[in-house]
Amino acid sequence: MSISQKTAWAQLAIFGALVIAWLVLFIINGTIFYWQNNTMKMTFYWLSAAAFAGLVLMNIIASIVKNRTKSVTDERDRLIFRKASLWATGTSYTVVVALLLALAITYMNGASETVPVNFPLFIVIVGGVTLVLTQAITALIMYGRKVNYGES
């Protein structure tokens, strides 16, 4: 398994755990924005920040390993990364636009008071998480499939 595949698996593990944590939070509280007894009011943000910090740390470690060893990544890894990034950008963009549309429709229907004040920040975070998760999943799928450099 190449370092790029390991990185993709780590991304999937970190952000998959984050999404599961969001679901648990939602099941317990009925919302993901606040913790019920206020002891961890910003749980959603702390969880998200921890996941993104993990991503940054992982990339720093990966770049150190890449600098120490020769040929840990090559043209195939870069090609897969580029293709996966394109898919991730498209998916993330679609998700963010859909959430913004939902927000706009809610406002147009005059139900703006039902929208939590931190919903715009939620959209940004969900967009970021979608980007990282889609990138990891697409890369892992492509490592198992036929890839043609000429089609890049």
Partner: protein, 70 residues
């Protein structure tokens, strides 16, 4: 649309060259062992540059390593 297929004889050529390991070939051409595995399994069609490097590593013309089928 006619789908082209590019086959290769890398595995055969490795064995013909004193059973060269995938790691050794990867080191000679500057790619990862995973890419050599993908090439041998037909899961990756390389760039022209890498194709030439592989052919040069075996000391044979490009056509002896890669075959183009339409």
């Amino acid at each position: 649309m006619v789908r082209a297929r590019i086959n290769n004889r890398i595995r055969r050529l490795r064995f013909d060259h004193n059973e060269m390991t995938q790691e050794e070939l990867a080191g000679r051409v500057g790619c990862t062992r995973q890419t050599i595995i993908a090439l041998e399994q037909g899961k990756y069609v390389p760039s022209i540059e890498l194709a030439f490097k592989i052919a040069r590593a075996f000391g044979v013309p490009l056509e002896d390593v890669f075959q183009y089928e339409e």
